[in-house]
Structure formats: structure tokens, C-alpha cells
């Protein structure tokens, strides 16, 4: 059939229709065409339908035309049918009554002679998403699963999952999962098998929250007969279904090594697939299967290197990005393995910046004795690059490599050359690095100071670079001839200095300089302290005051605080814990690898993917304790992008170690506070949180809002909990099994609390802020299940809680098990009081 001839202007610009008048115009035309039997009526209808869909695409609300669209849809023209189904699928939810009108002809089409029409109708029928129409779905779905055409069975298999989402009970009552399972193990068509697998996994994973039988069904899917059955058919599947089957296989637990080798031999040629997703899915199977066999695991790394590098170059930059993210993960785990392939990670001119950044990180990771010279030479080329962000990253990379201790000698020379390039951002980045280097390798101070001394602070605009220079001026004032005078010049311009960070460093540097060269600095110190005390920035003001009083109290003590003997920094903080890295590795070939975060940090529980989630305690995902470590890691990073403890932190350490009594008196300085987690702060001030809640209550009352009608929270109990209890899921599970139930009760949540449970994470956070940690959670609205634990402060005894919350009734079922029976009541009171406060603050 020739293309229809709609007026070109209309069809060519689907995104600029005029809105409301357009919709009423379309309704008008549809009405006229509804009963038309003119020979070209279908063509005209096509034209109008097209315009309706183009409006829909542009985001214009065309739901008003629903009735007219339905009236026009009684047609034998397939193209018209498809457009109509597309429209109905989008709008049926908003018009459940009118959607009923479409049921009739959809059901009729489900019995059409042509399998294409049957499949099409069944797919559209299941996509309506209208709860009160589910009764019409069951029969076509059951027949569809038995249809002679593979196309229809394929549609029906996915349709079952769609039905489950609209009405789980209808789907289960019709016994569709059983039919899917039978079909999965017998159907000759690979796509039907794949779709059955998709649907079964989705249904049982969601169902697992409510029934144990579902958990067993999931286990069956991961069992040897199913996994081997699917793997043996692997080549019949489409590449996308292959990925899914491989994902399933990566979770399979083989019973002996022969099974592992069988699987690996079977999948060996998948590594040569042109589709990167298939290759990565295969690699995941290989890596996970061989975890316990160190030698084979190493061989796998060797084997996958070449295919991965080929994928980097083969596809679009976006595809190589994803592959590079995975390579990055592997490089971090096995830097040695890639050390001879360093040239593959050189930046190419055409690489987008997101690819270049990753490559720089990889070059940093694989630098070792044998390749450092080449890598650093290459990085130095980028430092002068016109691409400023990459130039900066390259300089940082050079610094990081230097801190890894390879060939420091040459690198210091290179860094000093950067300073001669006389580009402001290069100088600033380099100064930060030189500062860090000096703290690790004080022996280089002479070479560096000679060069750094020649840099005028006026030429550096960036606060970080300026702060680094000032730190060096203070720290090495004995070696830098004109340090006091340079500092003096900077102090003169105190008011023009925008960055509080720089002003803080200036205070400290002048102090240091004063103790080393008192006569030359005294005047400047006076001016600095005066300026600091008058500063409007709280931190700067506080530090100035602190120094001032310290000097008043005893200059000798002050010197010990400001200029303690320093040790070279040997190890610097790793920003990511190894536990988190392992979890990311567990989630190989997923978005976690791209974000460099495990899935629980960026995904809702309910969306965590079919494989991550299980209600069974044995496979519980670790709940809330990890995010906290990450938060503090991020916080740490914010304070301290240069990887080493910032100067202020180190001084504070100095305070603590050299003169303990000052710590308690002077814990007000800002950097001390900022380096603490809120939990710690609260620890210093016990009872502050309860105090603030009470204040809130009285404030509510004052504002005339009335006291909330729920009973007032019980008085704060005496039991103190450890702010950072430690318990891993297996131990939890073991203890839960061993301990007797010491307390079981139903208690009620505040209405606000029940409402806040729309997001279960909020409860986890709330409990966490009261030192009760979540180890696992799950469920679907309105029922949620949480496992919490706490630990008595200063003792090893733990408290375990199972908490089942129903948001509809705002009730919680508690089961508490304790190790130390004497505090059982205290803990349960505390837990209930904390729970009842949820949502009120």
C-alpha cells in the first residue's frame, strides 16, 4: 500500500500543534469520520489518528477525544488499529468507563484468524491497566498461552506479568505462574521461553514479600535443571534474552567444579559476541563462578582482557563508556593485570570528556614501577591541553601517582615544571599537589620550596591553590627567606580575600610563622588576629579567638598546638570501603558499576532488581548501616579533596594528643564540629534530641495547632545505645535463630509516621538517628517488614527486632529478642518510644 497522503505540513510537524482548539477540531473530525463509509474513509481516519498521536507525543492532553477515538476504531485497517490501541493504552487509565467500550473489539480481535492481530489485541488488552477490567483478561491470557502461534504465546507470557501488576490475586488465582513455568520448560520458541522467565522472576520476586512459597519458586528458577536447560539453549535466544539468562546463571550456585567448567566451556564463545552486553553478562558468570578458585579466577581475568578492550573501540562513545566503567572496576581489583596495556587507556582526541576522565583514573590505578615513566609523560602532555577540565584531572592524576610512591623523583621535577607553565589553573592544581607531596615526603621540601617561593600569591585566584601556598609559607617559613613578608602582604588584603578557607589557612600560617620567626612576624600576627576577630565568618572568627586566648593562656602551649612535631603522612584515606567495593563487584554488569555505588544507594527497595531482593533472611540485603559509612565518606571528601587529612584536622589531632584537657574546653572550633557526624555531636550532648522534640510540642501548642491526639511519647528511657553497633547479616540471622522471644507486642504509629512510610527509607533513617540500625527490610504497601538491631553502649549485648508495619492501620507488630535480659524492658520501651516519634519531628 502506498503511503497515505496527509497534508505534509501537518504530519511534518507533530510537535507544534496549537493545543486546545486543535483537540476540539480533531474531535469534530473524528465524529464525522466515525460512521463514514466513503472509500477513502480509512485514509482520512489515518490522517486524523496520526495528528492525535502526534499531539499525544508532544505532551498535549488529548484524552478528551477518547470516546471519538473508540468510535472510529471499529475497522479492519491494521495501521488504524495499532494507532488506536496505542492511544487507548495511554489514556484508558484515566477513562476506565470508556475503556470498557474497547474491551469488546479487543476481545473479538483476540480470536481473529490472523496471529498478528491476535497478538496485537492481547498485548493492548493487557496494557490497559484498568483494575476493574481484569476479569476480561484472564480468558484471553489463558488461551493465549496455548495459542498455536509463538507470537501470541510470547505476548501472553509478558501479559501475565502485566496482569499481576494490575491485580496480583487475579493472576495467581488463575494459576498463570504455573502455566508460565510449564511453558518455559517446554516451548520450542526461545522468545516465549525468555518472556516466561522474565514474568516468573518478576511475579515471584514481588510475591516473595507475602508468601514463602514464592521464595521457593525463585529458588527453583535458580536451580540446576532450569539453569542448565536455559544455558543449553543459549544460542537460540535473542541477544537480549541471552543477557537475561546469563544474569540468571551468574547467581547459580554450582555444586562442584565440573559444573563450573561445563558452564564456562559452554559459554566460552559468548566472549566473542559483537554485542557488549552479552560479553559483559558472560564475564559476570565467569567471574562469579570462579570466585572460590583463585587460579582459574586469574585466568578469567587474562581471558576477558582482550574482548573488553575490543569493545571499547568498537562501538559508539556511549557504549565504550559503559565497558570502560567495568574495566575500571576490574583495573581497581587487579591493577597488575592491566599494567602492560596502559597505552589502551591513553586519551584519544575524539574521546568525550566522560571517557577521558575514566581513562585518567585507570592510568592512575595501573601505574607501577614498570610503566610510571611512560604514563606520567603522557599525563604531562594533557596538562597543557586546551581542554581545561582534563588538564586539571591530569595534574591531579600525576599527583596521585606520586603519592603511590613510584618514581617520585622524576614526578617532583615534572610537577615543578608545571609551575613554570604559568597557566593559572595549572599552578593552582600543582600547588595543592606539592603541598600533599611535602606532607608525605618532607625530604623534598628544599627542591620544592625553592620553586614555590618564586610564585606570587597575586597570580593565584583559586582558593584551593592559594590555601596550599599559604600553608607552605607557614609550614616552611624557616626555609623561605621572605615568608613573613609574603604573608604580611596577603594579610594586608584581608578584606579582599573572598574565601573563608584561605583566611583560615592564613591565620594558621601566620601563627606558625610567628613561632619560627617571632621578631619578623609579631606585627603581622597582631594584624591577622585583629582582622580574624573582626571577620564576619563564624569559623574564621572562632579560630582567631581560639588562637588569641591560647596565646594569652600560655604561648608555649600555643606553640605545641600550632606547631607540633609532625610525622610524614604514610597512608592516606581511601574514600570507599572495601565492603562497598565488593558489593559493587557483586553487582557487576549493572548501573552500580557506572555510578560506583551499590544499588541500595540509588534505587528504591521495590525496584532493586529481580536478583537483589529476597525476603528470606539468608539473602537479606544489608540495610542501613552502610549508607552511613558512605555519608561520612562523602563528608570526608567534601572537607578534603586532596586525599590527605586537611591541615586543620591534623592540628586538631595535635590538640587532642598533645593536650587532652583542651579538647573538652575547646570543642567549639568549627572544623572540629564539621568533621564529626551528627551522631557524635549528639553523643556529646546526650538528651538533646528528646529535648528538641519536646520543644517542638510546646511550640505547636503555642501556635494554636492543638496537641496531637496521639498519646504523648513515653519519657526517654535510661538505656543508652551504642551509636555505631556492628552486626553482619549472618550473625543477625544466627542470633535470631538462637535467642528466645523476650517481647512481642503491637504498638501504633503516629498518622504522620504511617504517611511517611510511603518511603520506607525514612523510617530506617529515623531509627538510625536513634542508634537503631536496620539490617534488612522489604515489603509492598501497605505491609512492610523491617529487621532492626541495636547494641548497648559499652557492651557487646545486642537487641534484635522484627517489626512488621501496616501503613493502612498504622500499627506495628514487634518481636524483640535480647542477649542481655536485664535491659530487655528498657530496650523495648526505648524502641517503642522512638517508633512512636517517627513522623513527628
Amino acid at each position: 500500500m502506498a503511503p497515505t497522503a496527509p497534508s505534509p505540513a501537518k504530519s511534518a510537524s507533530p510537535s507544534q500543534p496549537s493545543g486546545k482548539s486543535e483537540v476540539s477540531d480533531l474531535k469534530q473530525q473524528l465524529r464525522q469520520l466515525a460512521g463514514s463509509r466513503a472509500p477513502d474513509a480509512d485514509d482520512q481516519r489515518r490522517d486524523v489518528f496520526k495528528r492525535v498521536i502526534s499531539c499525544m507525543t508532544a505532551g498535549i492532553d488529548v484524552s478528551a477525544a477518547f470516546g471519538e477515538m473508540v468510535l472510529c476504531s471499529a475497522t479492519s485497517d491494521v495501521v488504524l488499529k495499532k494507532m488506536c490501541y496505542l492511544y487507548v493504552g495511554v489514556h484508558a487509565r484515566a477513562h476506565p468507563d470508556l475503556a470498557l467500550l474497547t474491551i469488546n473489539f479487543l476481545q473479538r480481535d483476540c480470536r481473529d484468524q490472523d496471529p498478528t492481530i491476535r497478538g496485537l489485541a492481547l498485548r493492548s488488552l493487557c496494557s490497559l491497566r484498568v483494575p476493574n477490567l481484569v476479569e476480561y483478561l484472564v480468558t484471553p491470557l489463558t488461551t493465549g498461552l496455548k495459542d498455536p502461534s509463538a507470537y501470541v504465546r510470547m505476548v501472553a507470557a509478558v501479559g501475565a506479568a502485566k496482569l499481576y501488576h494490575i491485580s496480583a490475586t487475579t493472576c495467581l488465582d488463575a494459576d498463570l505462574p504455573a502455566a508460565l513455568k510449564a511453558l518455559m520448560l517446554s516451548d520450542p520458541d526461545a522468545q516465549v521461553v525468555a518472556n516466561c522467565l522474565h514474568s516468573l522472576l518478576e511475579i515471584w520476586t514481588l510475591e516473595a514479600a507475602n508468601s514463602e512459597a514464592a521464595g521457593r519458586e525463585i529458588e527453583t528458577l535458580y536451580s540446576k535443571p532450569v539453569v542448565f536447560y536455559l544455558l543449553n539453549k543459549i544460542k537460540e535466544f535473542s541477544e537480549w534474552a541471552q543477557c537475561h539468562v546469563l544474569e540468571l546463571a551468574s547467581k547459580f550456585l554450582p555444586s562442584d567444579n565440573n559444573e563450573i567448567f561445563d558452564i564456562m566451556n559452554l559459554l566460552e564463545d559468548r566472549l566473542q559476541h559483537a554485542n557488549g552486553a552479552v560479553v559483559l553478562a558472560t564475564i559476570k558468570v565467569f567471574l562469579h563462578l570462579t570466585m572460590s578458585m583463585t587460579d582459574v579466577h586469574q585466568q578469567v581475568y587474562e581471558r576477558i582482557k582482550a574482548p573488553l578492550l575490543t569493545l571499547v573501540g568498537a562501538g559508539s562513545p556511549e557504549q565504550s563508556y559503559s565497558v570502560l566503567c567495568h574495566l575500571h572496576l576490574l583495573v581497581m581489583r587487579a591493577p597488575m593485570l592491566f599494567s602492560s596495556d596502559y597505552k589502551s587507556f591513553y586519551c584519544q582526541f575524539s574521546d568525550p570528556s566522560y571517557v577521558k576522565k575514566l581513562k585518567l583514573e585507570m592510568l592512575t590505578a595501573i601505574a607501577n614501577e614498570s610503566n610510571t615513566y611512560e604514563i606520567v609523560t603522557e599525563l604531562c602532555e594533557y596538562a597543557g591541553n586546551v581542554d581545561v577540565p582534563i588538564a586539571r584531572e591530569s595534574i591531579r592524576a600525576v599527583g596521585k601517582i606520586a603519592l603511590q610512591q613510584y618514581d617520585v623523583n622524576a614526578i617532583v621535577d615534572r610537577l615543578l615544571q608545571f609551575l613554570e607553565m604559568d597557566k593559572d589553573y595549572v599552578t593552582a592544581e600543582t600547588l595543592v599537589l606539592v603541598k600533599d607531596l611535602l606532607r608525605k615526603y618532607p625530604q623534598w621540601s628544599h627542591d620544592c620550596i625553592a620553586v614555590v617561593g618564586n610564585i606570587s600569591s597575586q597570580n593565584i585566584q583559586e582558593p584551593k591553590g592559594k590555601a596550599a601556598l599559604i600553608w607552605m609559607l607557614g609550614e616552611y617559613s624557616q626555609d623561605m627567606h621572605d615568608a613573613p613578608y609574603v604573608l604580611e602582604n596577603i594579610v594586608v588584603n584581608w578584606d579582599e580575600e573572598q574565601s573563608p578557607e584561605v583566611r583560615l589557612h592564613l591565620l594558621t600560617a601566620v601563627m606558625k610563622c610567628f613561632f619560627k620567626r617571632p621578631p619578623e612576624t609579631q606585627k603581622t600576627l597582631g594584624a591577622t588576629l585583629a582582622a580574624g576577630l573582626a571577620d564576619t565568618h563564624q569559623d574564621v572568627h572562632d579560630r582567631a579567638l581560639f588562637y588569641y586566648r591560647l596565646l594569652q593562656y600560655d604561648p608555649a602551649v600555643a606553640e605545641r598546638v600550632v606547631n607540633p612535631p609532625k610525622q610524614a603522612v604514610s597512608v592516606f584515606a581511601d574514600t570507599q570501603s572495601s565492603e562497598i567495593k565488593d558489593r559493587i563487584f557483586d553487582e557487576f554488569n549493572s548501573l552500580s558499576v557506572v555510578y560506583q555505588k551499590p544499588s541500595y544507594m540509588f534505587t528504591d527497595k521495590e525496584h532493586r532488581g529481580t536478583f537483589e531482593y529476597s525476603e528470606d533472611l539468608a539473602n537479606l540485603t544489608v540495610g542501613a548501616e552502610a549508607p552511613e559509612t558512605v555519608i561520612s565518606a562523602q563528608r570526608y571528601q567534601e572537607n578534603d579533596n586532596d586525599l590527605l587529612l586537611s591541615t586543620s584536622d591534623k592540628e586538631d589531632n595535635g590538640i587532642r594528643s598533645s593536650n587532652g584537657s583542651y579538647t573538652s574546653t575547646y570543642n567549639a572550633p568549627s572544623d572540629l564540629l564539621s568533621s564529626q557526624t551528627p551522631a557524635e555531636t549528639a553523643l556529646i550532648n546526650p538528651g538533646s534530641s528528646t529535648y528538641s522534640t519536646q520543644t517542638n510540642f510546646s511550640l505547636d501548642d503555642l501556635l494554636g495547632l492543638g496537641v496531637p491526639d496521639t498519646p504523648a511519647p513515653p519519657p526517654p528511657p535510661a538505656l543508652a545505645l551504642n551509636s555505631k553497633p556492628v552486626l553482619d547479616p549472618p550473625t543477625f540471622q544466627k542470633k535470631w535463630g538462637q535467642l528466645a522471644l523476650s517481647f512481642s507486642q503491637e504498638c501504633s504509629l503516629s498518622p504522620q509516621g504511617a504517611a511517611s512510610l510511603m518511603n520506607p527509607q525514612s523510617l530506617i533513617r529515623h531509627m538510625q538517628s536513634n542508634y537503631i540500625q536496620c539490617i534488612a527490610s522489604g515489603g509492598q504497601p501497605p505491609n512492610y517488614k523491617f529487621y532492626f538491631y541495636g547494641q548497648k553502649a559499652g557492651a557487646a549485648a545486642v537487641y534484635l527486632v522484627e517489626c512488621i508495619v501496616n501503613t493502612a492501620s498504622a500499627k506495628a507488630q514487634l518481636k524483640i529478642k535480647v542477649e542481655d535480659g536485664t535491659t530487655a524492658d528498657a530496650f523495648s520501651t526505648l524502641f517503642q518510644s522512638v517508633l512512636s516519634q517517627f513522623g513527628r519531628s
Binding site: A277, T310, E318, Y321, D604
Partner: protein, 451 residues
């Protein structure tokens, strides 16, 4: 599980928008577009292809200036999504002949039809152009490819060599020829992207070839095809040592680091005679991707010099020598060189009798640009430029300028020497003799000379 798929124009208009699971909050396309548009504006960085906003994962690829995007709420394989997006773009191109904003807008109903079959409830179904044919009822509306700027690697064949029918590669797989008869033909393109970095002394620091054997078949009845490559082709870095006796006599054997294959390819006899057997599916697809880091002769030698010529002046000399046979011609050559940021003016001096060459000083990005329409093998070209600075230079000019970057396309040339020895199509009858086109092309990926 994919939640939504959409295609946005460069201005952020929805061209197609399909929601598969109804779980992503409204306005996701707008959220996506804003994020991509204003990604780290100060640093002018490009948004990465994968990011997460408020729990929604956005994964996109850029094809023909359009954003192909999927959203998902679950933690699934990013590679799967990116490969799928590229595949959807390719299948669409197979159907429409040309993939660009205009052709998509004209055929958006057909694209919806495709999307309906390619993804169901967020699960990828079939992406085979051929399998999809029986479910697609719309006829593609052709856009005039001639008036459009060429896109993609195939477009390079439209210029130059006359032997090739210009419209062949922009022909839809499903649409009929104006005459009503389908022309039996098959295209095999060996496309190589080469990356070379020269040091300041002209020494080759790194060199790599990323190659693809791409096929586009318009053959009816799916005949089997045999594609024979160089007999002495080695694969894997270690293979050269095992085949030493061969390479020492021939001296010119091709050794690939690694390669991968399309799933339709049967490799049964590949290890013996380097022949690929396949039944090509309809549409365009890569038969084989390969990577080579073995040394090869770079097609161009580039030398660049910058020298001080007075207190606030400098002279630049760029020289290109084409190191390939005279019967081969490179086209659309661009040479770019960043100059010191304090450069105010540049004046150029082309060689005597230069034809089809243009020069420009881009003030915004401080680059010299030199365009050459074509370069014949064996020839040499030079450009001199005088720079005027707004301040006195302080010493090291070479640290402030460069590196020189070059872009080019060389049809009927491949740097790796990988050859298709023959392309055999299983005969259906004595008169069956379809057109076969085996074409080579080399493109610069990253061709850099340092100062």
C-alpha cells in the same frame, strides 16, 4: 526492565515517546533534557550517557543529532540499554533509509509500530529487522537523502567514486524501488578508525586500528554467504610467534589483537581457512569488529613547528605528507592546531597553486584551522601562519600551543591490510548474479601530532 523510551530533538522536542510500565513520574523527558543541556556548564563538559536523578536512571545515546533515551527504575545492565538504543536506531534506519530528525518526524507512526514490537512491558523482544517485517504495516515515507547532510560511515561513499550507486546505502530495506522491482545487491564495507600519536620528533608513540566489517544485504531469499579474509590473518598477540615461519617469508601478515563476530556468523572453518560463513539478516549489521595494535604505516606524516619571531610574534609551519599510493585520494581533511590563548591575529600563507584549501583562525577557541578538499597519495602540502600576540611570550611556546589534530577520510584504502579475498553468494540459479560491493575506507579517530 525499561520504563520509557523516547527520542528528543536537539531542541528537546518529543519526536516519539513511549511509556512501557507507567512507573516513572511525569516530565521525565524534560528533566532529562535540562540535565543534559546544562551539565556542568562552566566546564563545558558533556553529560555522561548514564545518570540518575531522583531514583530514575536515564540512559541515552546520541545518534544523528538526536537523543535516544530510555529510563528505568531498576538496576540493570547499562551496556544492555546502550546496545539496545543503538540497535533501535539502526533498525529504524533500516526501515527509513535515512535516520535524521526529518525522517523520524515523517515516520513517527512507523517508529511507534517498531517500538511496540521491540520492547514489551520493558523487556527487549526482537530487534532483527527481518523478523520485524511481518509486524510492521506502515510504509516508510522517504525523505530526500540528496539534500541532507551526509550522516554516518556509509554516507562517505556518496561522494567520490562513481562506480557506486549513490542512493544504495540510504535505501530502505522494506520499501520498493520506484520500478517496483527490488535490486539484488549486497554491500560489504571495511571501515577502519585509526588512532596515531606522533611525538614532537615525529616518532610514533601509539597507534591503533579499530575496524569493522559491516554488511548491508538487499538479497532476497537469504542465500548463504562466504566471506574470505587474508589467509595468513593472525588473531591474538601471541599468534604471530606460532606462525613465525609464515610471516618471516611474507613479511606482511596481518595480526589482529582481538576480534568479535555477529551472531549470524559461523566460525567452523575460520581457524582453518579464515572464511566466515553466514546467512546475512536483512539490514545493516557488523559482521566482525577487530582491534589491531600491530605497527602499520600511517597514511599521513604530520609535522608541526612553532617558533618565536620577535617579542610578540610567532611563526607556525604545518606540513602533511600523504604516504599512500597515488591512485588513492583522501578527502575532507581538516587540520586543527590550538595556539596560545593570547593570540590576537593570524595570517596564513598557502603553498603556491593550492586548490580547494581554506584556512581560518577561530578566535573563540584559539585554533588554527586548515581544510583541504582532497589530498592525492604521495603529495605533500604545507601551510605557514604568522601569529600576533597581545603580550610578550615567556619562553616555552610549545607548551602553550598544540597538539595538532587531523581529521580525514580515505576511501578505498585500509591501513591494516585486512582484505576480503572473495565474497561468494550461494547460487540459486544460473542467472542469479547479484551486485556485490566490497568497499574499504579509513577514517581518523584520533590523529595527533605533538609539538
Amino acid at each position: 526492565m525499561i520504563s520509557q523510551f523516547f527520542v528528543l530533538s536537539q531542541r528537546g522536542d518529543h519526536i516519539v515517546f513511549r511509556d512501557y510500565r507507567g512507573e516513572v513520574p511525569k516530565g521525565s523527558a524534560e528533566i532529562f533534557f535540562r540535565k543534559v543541556k546544562f551539565w556542568n556548564e562552566d566546564e563545558a563538559e558533556e553529560a555522561p550517557p548514564v545518570f540518575n536523578i531522583d531514583g530514575v536512571n536515564y540512559v541515552h545515546v546520541k545518534v544523528a543529532g538526536l537523543f535516544f533515551v530510555v529510563t528505568t527504575m531498576v538496576n540493570i545492565s547499562p551496556s544492555l540499554l546502550l546496545e539496545l538504543l543503538q540497535r533501535i536506531a539502526r533498525v529504524t534506519k533500516d526501515y527509513l533509509g535515512v535516520l535524521n530528525e526529518d525522517s523520524l518526524r515523517k515516520n513517527f507512526i512507523l517508529v511507534y509500530e517498531l517500538l511496540d514490537e521491540v520492547i514489551d512491558f520493558g523487556y527487549p523482544q526482537t530487534t532483527s529487522t527481518e523478523a520485524l517485517k511481518s509486524y510492521i504495516f506502515n510504509e516508510p515515507i522517504m525523505v530526500d537523502a540528496g539534500r541532507l547532510p551526509p550522516l554516518g560511515p556509509a554516507a562517505m561513499f556518496m561522494q567520490g567514486t562513481k562506480r557506486m550507486p549513490g542512493t544504495a546505502v540510504t535505501k530502505s530495506v522494506v520499501a520498493n524501488e520506484p520500478g517496483g522491482k527490488k535490486r539484488e545487491e549486497i554491500f560489504v564495507d571495511i571501515i577502519e578508525k585509526i588512532s596515531v600519536t606522533f611525538s614532537s620528533s615525529g616518532y610514533i608513540l601509539t597507534s591503533e586500528i579499530d575496524g569493522t566489517i559491516q554488511m548491508k544485504s538487499y538479497l532476497s531469499g537469504n542465500p548463504e554467504i562466504r566471506l574470505a579474509l587474508n589467509e595468513d590473518l593472525g588473531i591474538g598477540k601471541n599468534s604471530s610467534s606460532t606462525h613465525d615461519y609464515r610471516s618471516s617469508s611474507g613479511g606482511g601478515s596481518v595480526v589482529l589483537d582481538d576480534c568479535n563476530f555477529h551472531e549470524s556468523v559461523q566460525l567452523d572453518s575460520f581457524d582453518i581457512d579464515r572464511t566466515l560463513h553466514l546467512i546475512p539478516p536483512d539490514g545493516e549489521f557488523p559482521v566482525m569488529n577487530y582491534r589491531m595494535t600491530q605497527e602499520f604505516k600511517p597514511p599521513f606524516r604530520v609535522t608541526a613547528l612553532i617558533e618565536e619571531a620577535g617579542p610578540s610574534r610567532a611563526e607556525v609551519l604545518l606540513k602533511i605528507r600523504a604516504d599512500f599510493p597515488a591512485n588513492v585520494t583522501a578527502n575532507t581533511i581538516t587540520v586543527q592546531m590550538p595556539v596560545p590563548s593570547y593570540t590576537m591575529r593570524a595570517s596564513f600563507e598557502l603553498e603556491a597553486g593550492a586548490v580547494g584549501q581554506t584556512t581560518d583562525f577561530k578566535e573563540g577557541t584559539r585554533r588554527l584551522e586548515w581544510n583541504l578538499k582532497k589530498i592525492v597519495g604521495g603529495s605533500e602540502h604545507t601551510l605557514r601562519a604568522k601569529l600576533t600576540f597581545s603580550q610578550e611570550t615567556h619562553g616555552n611556546l610549545t607548551k602553550e600551543a598544540g597538539p595538532v589534530n587531523m581529521n580525514f577520510t580515505i576511501p578505498m584504502y585500509n591501513a591494516s591490510k585486512l582484505q576480503v579475498r572473495y565474497l561468494q553468494i550461494a547460487k540459486k540459479s544460473k542467472t542469479y548474479n547479484p551486485y556485490r560491493w566490497v568497499r574499504y575506507v579509513t577514517q581518523a579517530n584520533s590523529y595527533v601530532a605533538r609539538l
